[in-house]
Structure formats: C-alpha cells, structure tokens
Amino acid sequence: MKKILMVVGCILGVIGGAAPHTNLVGPIPLNWLLAGMGAGILLAASRMSGAAGGHGGESSGASGTATDAGAALQHTASSVRSILSRAAELPIHDLAREIDGVIARDLMPVISAQSELIARQGFAKYAAHTGPWAAGERMLYRAWSAATDGHRPEAVSSLREAITHFEEAAREWAKA
C-alpha cells in the first residue's frame, strides 16, 4: 500500500511540474496544486510503516536477516583469531585463502542484512556497531592484500587490528 501511495504521489507531483504555471484552478496555479497533492500523498505514505527501499547501499535488495548478521558479527573475531593463531606457520598463500574464506563466510551475512538492520535498530544504533565492524572489514581486506603480496608481517598486524575492531563491533551489537 505504501509503495502504491508513493507511486501515485510521485506521478501526480511530477505531472504537476510539467503544467505551465499560468494554468489556474480558481486562484491556485495548477502546477503547485498537483504538486501539493502529490506531496500530501507522499507525506501520508511516510507515516505508514514498512520498508520502501531506495537507500542504494550494497544490500538494499538482498534478503539477509538480522539474526544471521548478529551471529556472523559475533563470530568474526573468533574466526580471525583462529587464523592469527596459525598465521606464523601457514604458507603465505594459504593464509590469503583462509582470510578469503572468512570474508565470504562471516562478512557477507552482515552486508546483506544492512537494510533490515537500519530498519530495526535505527541509524544511531546501526552506526554504533557497523562503524567498528567496517573498520575490521577493511583491515581484513588489508591482511588479504598483504598476504597476496607475500608480506606476512603486515598481514599478521592487520589481522590483529581487525580483531580489535570486530570485538568492539560485537560489544556494540550486544548493546543494540
């Protein structure tokens, strides 16, 4: 229903925009009358619950759930810690492969639940855990790049830093 109202409001308003401002309905210009009606319908739609989509992030259309995201988010630090404990012995390219595995397994559920998380938790709580989580994500990518480049010390220090961020994200998630 919300989407229908948005479509109707948008069509009415934009058709109003196309009308010459010299066309009058009584004392009111037709263009602003139609635009005002369109805006009113959009306002009514904004007061209805339900997601309308459209923020344009990586996951607006994906169907990830908050539950999956929460489980993955709380699990990521331990997954990275497990790799770190073996990082000194693993052949460097196996290290890159293992990091790639964590990226696919533990990061994707959080990314694909972005829309639902914002809708459920609100922007502020979402930002509180996603901020540190994204920093951890970037350090995990850095660890992959360094391992791919054959640079073990950088890969190891990036994994350490990633754990710090993922732990902070898990704490913030628990508060949310």
Binding site: G9, C10, I11, G13, V14, I15, G17, A18, A19, H21, P29, N31, W32, A35, G36, A39, L42, L43, A45, S46, A52, G53, G54, H55, G56, G57, E58, S59, S60, G61, A62, H93, A96, R97, G101, A104, M108, I111, S112, A119, F123, A124, Y126, A127, G131, A134, R138, M139, Y141, R142, W144, S145, A146, T148, D149, G150, H151, R152, E154, S158
Partner: protein
C-alpha cells in the same frame, strides 16, 4: 581449501619479510602523475569534442599492475591503489574545467579571461572538494555502503594481482568490453557499416511509438555493466526515467502543455514525427531536467537531515581517531572547518579579481562555498549509487545562485557578472568532480584494505596538477581553433571546432538568467525540490536523489543501466548470490573496465 575455491589459481609471489609494506612510494606517485597528466590532456580534448570524459582509475590500475608488480616485481596492491588514486585525482578535474571555462570562449570573452584567476579558482576547488568530502567517508563507504561501480571495478583490477578465477573472469570481461566498444563504434569507420551504438525503437517499430517518449536504447557497456554491479538496489533509478518519458511526456502532449511553437496542432506524417522529436527534446530539457535537479537538491538535503545521527556518529568516531595522533587512519575532520573558511576566502578573491566589489564577492563566495559542499555530497552520493555524477546540472545551479547574488544584491550585470560567476562556477564544478572521485577512490581503497589517510593525503598532494594541465590544454586548443579558422571570430572558431555540449548549455542558461530568467524553470526547480523532500521522507533516505537523477539523465542511458540491473537480478535468481559476487560481478567489472579502456584509447587516438 577445496579445489572449487575461487582463489585456487593464485599468482604466487616470494615472501617478503624484512621490508616495510609498500603503500606510499615514489614509484606509485610518479606513475600516477604521468598517467594522470597524459589522460587529462586526452580527456580535455575528448570532453570538448564529445561531452563526456572517462575515469582514469581502471587504466591506471592496469598499468600499475603491469609496471609496479610485473616489471618492478615489488609493487603491492595498496601501492597500486595509491597510483590509481593519484592518476584519477589529476584526471578528474578536467570535467569541471571543460564544463565551465569554455563558456567564456563561447561568449567571445577570450580577451577578458584572467587565466591565473581561473586556474587558482579551479585549484582551490580541487583541494576543497577533496577536503569537504573526506569527513563523509565513514558515512558513505562504511555505513551506507554505497556500491560505487567504477570504484568496485577498479578494486577488482587491483585484486587481480592475487590471480584466481575472479581475475580470469575480470580478464574475460575486459576483452568483452573492448570487443563491444569496437562493435558499437564500427559506423565511425565507414558510413556503410551499421550503427550498433543504439537502438531506435521509433524507427525499428515502424513509428508505432511516438518520438516524444524518447524510445532510444543506448548500447553502452559502461551503463549496462554499471547497472549490473549496482544491481537491484539501483533499479529504482529507472523509475524516474519511465516517469519522465512514459508518463509525463504523453500527459504533457495530450494536455496541450507543450508550446505550440514546438508542437503545432494539425500536423501529420513526417512533419508530426519531426515535431514530436522536438517536443521530446523540450520535455527532457525544459521539464524533466529542472524537476530532476530540484529533486536531487530536495532529496539530498532531506537525506542528510535523516542520516544526521549516522553522520554525527561518524564525525565523533573521526574525532576520536584524530585524538589518537599518528595512529589515526583518517585526516582530522577539523580540516573541514579550515577548508570552509579558505573556500570563502579564495572564491571571494576570485570574484574580486574578476571585478566584483568586496562585499558582493564575499557574499557570492559564501553562497558558492555552501553550494560546493552540498553539491559535492549530492554528486558523491549519486556516483555511489549509479556511477553517474550530475556535475553539469549542479554547476548550472551554482551559476544561477551566484548570478542571483551578483545581479540582484550587487546590481552588477553584463560581462563583469558573467566573468565572476563563471570563475566561481569553475571552482564549484572542479570541487564536485574531485569530491565524487575521492569517495570513489576511498571505496576502492576500502575493498583492498588501504589506509584512508594515505589516499586522502595523496589526493591532496596532486590536487593542483589537474586544473593547471586542463586549463593549459584548453588554452592551446582555443589557440589552435582560432589559428585554424582566421576568417572567423575567435568565439565562433572555437565553437565550430568543439561541440563543448555542457559549456554550451551553461552559456545558454546564463543568457536566459541574465535576460530575466525563465519563470517556468524556477517553478519546476521548486516543485522538484518539494517532491524530493517528501519522496525521501517516505522512503527513508536516498530515493529522492535517485529518482531525481534518473529524471535528469537521458532515458537512453537510464534504460541501458536498468537492463544491467535486471540482468543482475535474473543472474542472482538463476545462480544465487555467491555466483553473482564471484562470477557475475567480476565479469561486469571487466566489461566496464574494457569499455572505459577503449574510450581512453579512442580519445588519445583522436588527438593524434
């Protein structure tokens, strides 16, 4: 890992334990500067001829892959990322210059142009666009997680250093993109070859679809691949195009809202078709675009207000990072306050040098700086969702605002007003392009694990190069056009050689504005802004900007982008999300890179 792992074919490198990890290096900067300068010259020329430029990121990343890693055998992925950041930072500024400065040539003001002032204004814009957008990295990349298709494709190129199946898919896509570009440009070799660059459904369906709905599909691989990478979240962009062309246009024609000077009654056959074509152009330029620009602004302002809790959290996080001193990963948000003050000062000085009294120059400079920041956010956001940046539309609003201040408050009209406003607009347009590029590069950097601060510093170090190269190239091209046509006056000679579509449009707008303005257009800006506000309120952020952008862009481009989105959704349904990310998106990234590489080569060949 199992054999089916996407990384099963790595390009193995010997382990390097002792050296520091290469990121900010002389080689990375030097290569980026060389590539950036060469591409700036090419793109300034190509942009003046055909009206669009191609981003340098993918080209620089591929060259970096070959030179830094292949030839030097010690380059790293994040070092190559600095190379592409530098190249793109230099190259991107040319679009801001060529959309604005040629206005002065086209209006015959070549003798009044103060090149030093214009260059300084463009350089200031280049620094300020970068600094203004830096504090929003967390918001757009970390929290909103905007896709930035070109940034994503560039990251794929950088990651190809690791080999694996994704690198192979990327390579297949690059070859496909090159072939596609060749096929869609065959008609330029010989007029006898078919024009495969677009499908005109009006012609192919025997005129069954009226010309005023603009039934043309552009077969641009850049648009299709960007749509594929953006996927379902961006499909809403098509909605605005459908609304403008398939709902509003027929309604306006049927209700008699197209001026009779464009669409007289009683026409038949070929005359009616021609008039419908003109009506389509009128409805796009005079109705859809102004409403779209209004929606972009209304949607962006409301989106910023709605996302304020996230932005505040991002700023607080940045401030905490800055207080940690050298370990900070980002430049301090305090830069923003300094940049705001500097922006007003530099743009005001440009106004004074162009002939404005100091109080009016300061007022116009303040308005231009505020617009620079807001438009930078809008352009970065639209680039993040769709890969398109409505720079010319935002420049148009910028010039309207400054002209309003200069003429209505200052009572200054004629050449001094045009000179001052075009100079300020050059700063604004360069700032917008730099803002979008910085955010695109930061997205790439995020995906390869770069340190944002190092990218931000790289962008700032080279921000002055692009405007100088672009302005100098423009001067040389103007001189060559004038010397090549001695029988014409300089402005006409320049216009005869270079189409400069955006600058021509901007010049037309200045003529309209200085002649009292077009009241109908102001109404449409206002109605668009109203709808942008309420659409964004209804959808919870972003939608007003996306629908506005799609009303602003030609439907032929929007439709190609939409096809990419639908293909992405179909592929995901067919093969699943994992296959989409590991097979579909790398191929699409390759197609986008291949198409842009061919575009760059084409531009360089046109100079030679």
């Amino acid at each position: 890992m199992a054999d089916s792992d996407p990384q099963k074919l790595p390009i193995e490198r010997p382990e390097i334990e002792t050296l520091p990890y290469r990121e900010e290096t002389f080689a990375g900067y030097a290569l980026g500067i060389v590539i950036g300068i060469v591409l700036t010259i090419s793109m300034t020329y190509a942009g003046l001829r055909i009206g669009f430029t191609v981003p340098a990121s993918a080209m620089a990343a591929i060259l970096g892959l070959g030179l830094l890693r292949g030839v030097m055998r010690k380059g790293s992925i994040v070092e190559n990322n600095i190379n592409q950041t530098v190249a793109a930072a230099i190259n991107i500024t040319c679009s801001g210059v060529i959309f604005t400065v040629p206005v002065l040539y086209l209006r015959g003001l070549h003798e009044e142009i103060d090149l030093v002032t214009i260059s300084l204004a463009a350089i200031a814009g280049s620094f300020l666009g970068t600094v203004f957008i830096i504090p929003l990295r967390k918001q757009m990349v970390d929290l909103e997680r905007l896709r930035f298709p070109t940034g994503y494709a560039t990251a794929m190129v950088l990651k190809a250093a690791g080999g694996g199946e994704r690198a192979i898919y990327l390579g297949v896509g690059v070859v496909g993109g090159l072939v596609w570009y060749g096929l869609t440009h065959l008609h330029r070799i010989s007029g006898n070859l078919p024009n495969l660059s677009e499908i005109d459904f009006h012609e192919s369906l025997s005129h069954a679809i009226p010309r005023y709905v603009n039934p043309v599909l552009e077969l641009s691989m850049t648009s299709i691949a960007a749509g594929f990478i953006a996927g379902r979240p961006a499909l809403v962009v098509v909605w605005g195009g459908l609304l403008a062309n398939w709902v509003v246009a027929p309604a306006a024609v049927e209700l008699g809202w197209v001026p009779s000077s464009i669409l007289p009654s009683g026409l038949h056959g070929a005359d009616l078709t021609a008039a419908h074509g003109k009506a389509g152009t009128y409805l796009f330029k005079q109705v859809s675009r102004p409403i779209g620009i209004g929606m972009l602004v209304g949607g962006a302002v409301t989106g910023l207000a709605l996302a304020w809790p996230m932005i505040r959290a991002a700023f607080q996080s940045l401030s905490r990072g800055a207080s940690k001193g050298t370990t900070a990963q980002e430049l301090s948000p305090r830069l923003l306050y300094g940049a705001a003050a500097l922006s007003v000062a530099v743009v005001s000085i440009a106004g004074v040098r162009a002939g404005l009294p100091v109080p009016i120059a300061v007022l116009a400079g303040t308005v231009a700086s505020l617009w620079m920041w807001l438009a930078g956010v809008i352009v970065a956001q639209t680039t993040g969702v769709t890969d398109w940046s409505p720079i010319s539309g935002m420049a148009l609003i910028g010039i309207a605002l400054t002209l309003l201040v200069v003429s209505q408050v200052g009572g200054i009209t004629g050449t001094p007003a045009v000179l001052a406003c075009v100079t300020m607009s050059a700063a604004v347009a360069v700032a917008m392009s730099q803002a979008a590029d910085m955010m695109q590069d930061l997205k790439t950097g995020h995906l390869v694990g770069a340190i944002p601060r190092k990218q931000q510093i790289a962008q700032l170090w080279v921000a002055w190069i692009g405007p100088i190269v672009s302005v100098l190239t423009l001067v040389v091209l103007f001189q060559s056009a004038v010397s090549g046509a001695p029988h014409m006056n300089p402005g006409e000679a320049f216009a005869a050689k270079f189409a400069a579509p955006q600058a021509n449009a901007l010049s037309g707008t200045i003529t309209t504005l200085t002649g009292g303005g077009n009241e109908e257009t102001y109404h449409r800006y206002g109605i668009g802004a109203l709808l942008g506000v309420f659409l964004t309120l209804a959808a919870g952020g972003g939608l007003g900007v996306q629908v506005g952008l799609s009303m602003y862009l030609p439907f032929a481009t929007i439709a190609a982008f939409g096809i990419g989105c639908v293909m992405s959704m179909s592929f995901e349904k067919w093969r699943g999300t994992k296959a989409l990310e590991e097979l579909g998106v790398p191929i699409a990234a390759g197609l986008l890179v291949g198409d842009s590489l061919a575009g760059v080569a084409d531009s360089m060949a046109s100079i030679l």
